[in-house]
Each structure stands twice: as C-alpha cells, then as structure tokens.
Symmetry: C2
Subunit: 407 residues, 2 copies
Amino acid sequence: MLTIVEKFGGTSVGSVERIKAVAEHIAKKRALGERIVVVVSAMSGETNRLIALAHDLSESPSPREMDVLISTGEQVTIALLAMALHEYGVKAKSYTGSQVSIRTDNVYSKARIVDIDGQRIVDDLNDDTVVVVAGFQGSNEKGEITTLGRGGSDTTAVALAAAIKADECRIYTDVDGIYTTDPRVVPEARRLDRITAEEMLEMASLGAKVLQTRSVEFANKYKVPLRVLSSFEDGPGTLIHYDQEGDPMEAPLISGIASQRDEAKLTIRRIPDQPGVAHKVLGPVSAAHINVDVIIQNASEKGFTDLTFTVPRPDFKACKKILEQLVIDLGAQDIRTDEEIAKVSIVGVGMRSHTGVAHLMFQTLAENDINILMISTSEIKVSVIISEEQHDLAVQSLHRAFELHKF
Amino acid sequence: MLTIVEKFGGTSVGSVERIKAVAEHIAKKRALGERIVVVVSAMSGETNRLIALAHDLSESPSPREMDVLISTGEQVTIALLAMALHEYGVKAKSYTGSQVSIRTDNVYSKARIVDIDGQRIVDDLNDDTVVVVAGFQGSNEKGEITTLGRGGSDTTAVALAAAIKADECRIYTDVDGIYTTDPRVVPEARRLDRITAEEMLEMASLGAKVLQTRSVEFANKYKVPLRVLSSFEDGPGTLIHYDQEGDPMEAPLISGIASQRDEAKLTIRRIPDQPGVAHKVLGPVSAAHINVDVIIQNASEKGFTDLTFTVPRPDFKACKKILEQLVIDLGAQDIRTDEEIAKVSIVGVGMRSHTGVAHLMFQTLAENDINILMISTSEIKVSVIISEEQHDLAVQSLHRAFELHKF
C-alpha cells in the first residue's frame, strides 16, 4: 500500500465548503487503499486576521507570542478537516506540530525543523487512520510553540514524508503544476510534466512561488518524490524527480524562467579593503535572519572595495539600519540603495551541455533596451538584476527567445 | 510578596481595547509588588464562532476534535495579553494548558483536572515574569488536548492557585460580587461582602451563575481564598472564605436565593420494585455525563416504584432517549416529562441554628399561589422545583419574605 503525504494550503481549506471538498478527495484516496497523512495550512485570511490583532496591540509584538498566536490558525483547520473526514466515514485524528514531535530550533517565526519522531503517525496509519497534521509549526526543546515562517506548511509536509519514508509527497496548490514561467506574465507559458529537483530548487529560490525553497531543499536532501498539483481540478501536475539519467543533449536548453519582483539592492561604498570584508558586512545581516541573495564585491579603487547585494524587499529597512552602523564601524564612505529592482533568471540542466545560453540571454535583453544592474550565475542558471518596471518585458522576451512555448 | 492568580473571562478580554485594559490593570498590580499568574478565557464570541464552524461540517462533531478546535480560542487570548503586557513594560510569557502540565482525564469537552505541575510557573514568577495561562484546557496522559467544559477557566484559575499555593485567587466577572439573588429578577438584591465556601457551593451549584461549581469545589477542597470582583469597576467584590468562627446566632437566617431556569424533569413510572432501581436508572444517565440534580423515588403502588429527577435542559433529549430504553429493559410503564421547570433555593449556614426556615419558604410560596412540584433539602439549603413561568414571582416574594434587602 502506498503511503502518501498530501498538503493543502490556505486557499484549498479556505471555507467549510473547501474543507468538505478536501475531505471528499481524501475519502476517495482512502478507498483506493492509500495510507494518508494530510498537512494543512490556516484557512486563507485567518493568519492575516491574527497578525492584525497583534498589530493592534503592539508595533513589534514578541516573536514568541506571535508564534503562540498564529499557530492557532492551523489548529482550527486540522480539527475541522478531521470532523469533515468523519462525516465521510473515514477514521481521522488531528495533531498539532508539537503533538507529532516536530522539533525545531529556537528562531521564533522562522524556525527550522531539527527532528521529527514519526512513530505516532505510523501507529495511526497502521490503525487505518488518516492523520491530519498542522503545517507551519512545531515546538522547541522547551516545548514552546514555534512557526516555520510563511509557506512553512510545504516544509512540514516534505519533512513528514521523509520521516515516515512516504512514497510521494503531494503539494496541492492553486496552480496545476510548475510552468516555464509565470502565466500571468507570459500567456503562452507551458506546464512541465517533470522537472529535476535541482532545477526546481533554482526555480523556487528564484521566486517561482509555487513551492517554498526550504521544502524543495528538504525533498532533495531526503530524495522525497514531490508532486505539485491543483486542488481545484484533476490533473497529473508536475513531478519533481531525482532522475539524472537520459541523454543530456536531449534536454531543452532551459526549463523555465523564474523571476522575483520584491527585491531591494544595497551598496556599501568605499570600505577600506581588508581580509574578510564580505564576512564583516554580511555576518550581521545574516544574524538578523535576512536572506542575502545576489552578492557582488568590486574593488573600485586601490585600497577600497564596494559591496553590493540584494535582499527581499520586506527586509530592506532592517538591513539598511544594519549597514548604517557598519559604515561607521568599518570606516566606509556611504550607502546607496535601490528599492525597485527585480530579478529574472533562466534555469535548466541543459546549460551544462549547451554553450551560448548566457549570451542569448544578454543579447535578448540588450535588444529590448533592458539595462542589467547585476549578473549572477550558477551551473544551471543565469540571473540578472534589472529595474522592476522592465520585469514583464524581460520575462516575455526571454520566453520567446528560448522558445519555451514550443516544447 | 503576595502571589495572586487573577482570572478574566471572555467579556473582560472581548476586544483589543479590553485586553489593553486588563494589561494596564496587571501592570499596576505588578508595580505594587504582587507576583501574578493570569488565567484568561477566549475572547467573547470566539468560542461560539468556532462551534458554528464545526456544526457547519458535522451535526455531532467528534469531541476530541472539538477540543482541538475550541482550545484555540484561549490560545489567541494568552498571546495577545502577553503582547499587551510587554507594551506596559511588564515581562510576561504565555502558556497553553498543556504547556503548564494541566493534566486531565480523557472526557473530552468535560475533562477534569487530575494534576498540575506548578514548577514552570513558579520558576517564571521567581524570574519577575507574569505568567499568562490559557483557561479551560489541559491535556490527557497521551498529550491530547482536552477542555474542561463551559466556565472551566474558573476551575483552571483555582487549580493553579492551589498548585502554586497562591495567597488569593481573584475571579474578575461582569458583576461586582455575589448578590443575595439575581438583581435582574429582584432590583433590591444586595452584594455580599463575604460568604462561606459552603454557602457559595450551594449557590453556585444551584445556578448563581457567577462562578462555576467545580471551581468552588476545588477552592473549598484546597482552601483557596477566592474573591469575585468586577473587571469593569473597582470594588472589594465578595470574598469566599473558610472561616467557621463567630456566633452562628448572629448569622442571617439565609444568605441568598439561588435559582435555575433551564431545568427539565423526567419521571419513569411503575418500575417493578427491586433493589437497586435508582442505580439501574441513574447509572446509564450518569455514564452519558448528564448531571442529575434533584431525585425523588416514590413507591406509588405495592410492588412498583416511580423515579423522578431533574437534569439541565440541554441534556433533556439525550436523557429521554436513555429512559425510553430503560422502560423496555426494566419493564416499567412509561415516561412523563416536563421541560418547563425551574428550581428556586434558599441558602444559608444560619439554617443550622434557626428553625422554621423551610416553613417560611413554603408559606410564602403558598401565599403566592406557586405550586411546588418537588422539594429537596440539605443542611444549609432548601430547594423547590416549580413551573418555570412562576420563577420570577417565587424569587421576588422569597427575597422580601426573608428580608434580604435589609442586611
């Protein structure tokens, strides 16, 4: 019998009717003999409602208490879904993250899973029970409630799948799979049947918002077969696989175009050059749990260096504050910032065996008068930072240039 | 330094503004040097909102899942109150019932506390931290969430006060103390400064709805000084004490009149008489967690007996179903029911030393043409069951007859 972890996000459980639909879906899968663990998010809107309550009380509420507060959102959903499953005659039990021993570190609101004891879940599965688990949450070694940050329910699902050695982890979303790029930007964008985990990792981390990066990393680490499907319509979705076989020459030039609008760029200028400058600047930023993305260091003048990097726009202000202190501490000249940038990336394992991929990208952008502010490359992707207002034009022209609609 | 447990109900924390007011109140108490544990209920309306969601999904939702669902109500409040306390510069930490080891039995939705480990709370108090605990909830030995039933937050507060040996447990409510009777029925009703726990127990169990019976039982068992106060205005409230000293002849004839409207009466008629009839009838009723109140057994005819008892009206239908089966099993004749009855009781330790108290009650009711359906007495109370429509008249005329407005 297949053991499956299925994850439904906030929109999929956003109303009593949607919860009933999910229960009916699970009942059908049960009838096929699948052993099922369901991971659910808070009903859509609920998390924001709770956050608004907190902000009515405090400008910067305690992260510990925020986690106590917003973890109730998923707890409501698990109970309701278990009740709905009972109505379909399906044995089901709900558990909070803490109850199924999802142990995390102590970083409230952005905790990382350190361990899961899957025994309780396996016992229930052996007892023909569907196990409904609250996504997005766990508890630290003191038993205090923690949350994994936005999108953390995907990570919960993958981590549970790894812990109980599930045959597949299915993430139900509001899209029917992974596309060559955002169909809202490029109407001819095409659903991919399969994508390697490596490519998906680049796509996810680059802002293809279907799956949270950490969940793909987790899946990749434990080789959990991961499938992205629509919760609203039937279909095969996109399978994220670990199969490195097949003729690489057969692979398409690139698999997709990822992009990210909400980025900001910061430059700290004329830092007196010394060993470890990048570490001294980025250490404090990282300690504030801000994810730095593209980094460029450039010795502008003898004895001095400039360091430029991008961060998610919501972290911009906090990051700027840190740099202002660093200008003083390191004796740098000043800071320059740009809050209206976007990142556009082409991704594909095909790059390994095809040459000229980056060149075609730069040529296409040049032909469309798009100015490249920063470039970053990896083995299977090329990213450029551009002005946010040219985001759509860049994605559309690249999709055409790489003939992604054709495959 | 005094160690105090303070409990605020749903109305007292019913909005962000009310939560701020509670936080301000606690901050003032902290400034006076009190060590404080706060127990809170769900924001008013929240529990009903959650119950409505459940009933949209299921006519009789699983009690286990109901407890997972509605326990989120208090969890939201504890986090918000802790945040509000931080804004007043007060160190505070929130805990769910499970997190502070409030161990209960397995009766979902009506669980009873079996044990509390107060160490974590004491550690926090020693660290100058206000401890905010979710009322109404705990967890069983498997770590599954349980709730204590309506009003259970009072019980949580008293049980915590007993566990940490607090100097006083203060229950903040929407009234400013215990009254001689319901002021909505008798405008001249008067607030009592003090009442013995014994009297309070009779008042509470008889439906003076200010405090939940179980909380008073708990307080009485562990001799926790309990004070009922208004959360909206300053005042001394009513202290529930264990002082049996003083001249009993000085005590007023009765202390108060308790009444309960939502009762129902059931009679199972002509049961073939045999030892243990009451046990055979009431055993299954009790097993269904229905609280039987007044019980009368009467051998109506040689060889047969009638058994009449009252139950809370919400349990009436379930109870009737049980009796219908028992009529068959025991070979009884039939069932008679009355769903529109009320109970009115006079309560007072003064009864012990004064005679004629019951007589004055019966005389007063007779003068007002109120028909008594059942009578039940204890050492410090006399209760009568009457038609519900005569409830107000009975309470008003008794309050006058016993001159309760005068003391």
